[in-house]
Symmetry: C2
Subunit: 84 residues, 2 copies
């Protein structure tokens, strides 16, 4: 079976995020108010072929730990959707 995966990688709470701070500081100057706590992460989309959803999720979790994230400073949120 083929699944659509979306892995969102965000810096953990407490880790400085200069890119997010820059966006947060720029928004009022551009006329946008009320925007706070900006955090910039990565969004990795791909298709994965696996026997079932549990296997796909397990593979992605392993992939995240080994390769897609730095587990010391980053968290991953895995979204998985069944395709054909």
């Amino acid at each position: 079976m083929e699944f659509e995966a979306n892995v969102e990688v965000q810096l953990k709470e407490g880790i400085a995020d200069p890119q997010g701070s820059t966006i947060e500081n720029a928004t009022p100057k551009l006329g946008f108010n009320g925007i706070e706590n900006v955090r910039v992460g990565k969004s990795i989309r791909f298709t994965i072929t696996a026997e079932d959803e549990a296997t796909a999720k397990e593979t992605i979790q392993e992939l995240c730990e080994k390769f897609l994230t730095n587990p010391v400073i980053e968290n991953a949120i895995i979204h998985l959707q069944g395709a054909e």
Copy 2:
């Protein structure tokens, strides 16, 4: 009202994504099979204070066009969740 926003910025289809290709080529060498069509984008999370959900969405759309994306090569997907 305060809303939790998550803006996912992805390169448009047909735009070369070297970062995605690198991940895709590396996965089989690391022992992961069946991973295809890897696309790497950005995920920007923030809180926004607005009168209602429609206003919040409109502000974010404007923010995306002006500031968070390059509309020539990138698409934005906006996820919005109500908080207190």
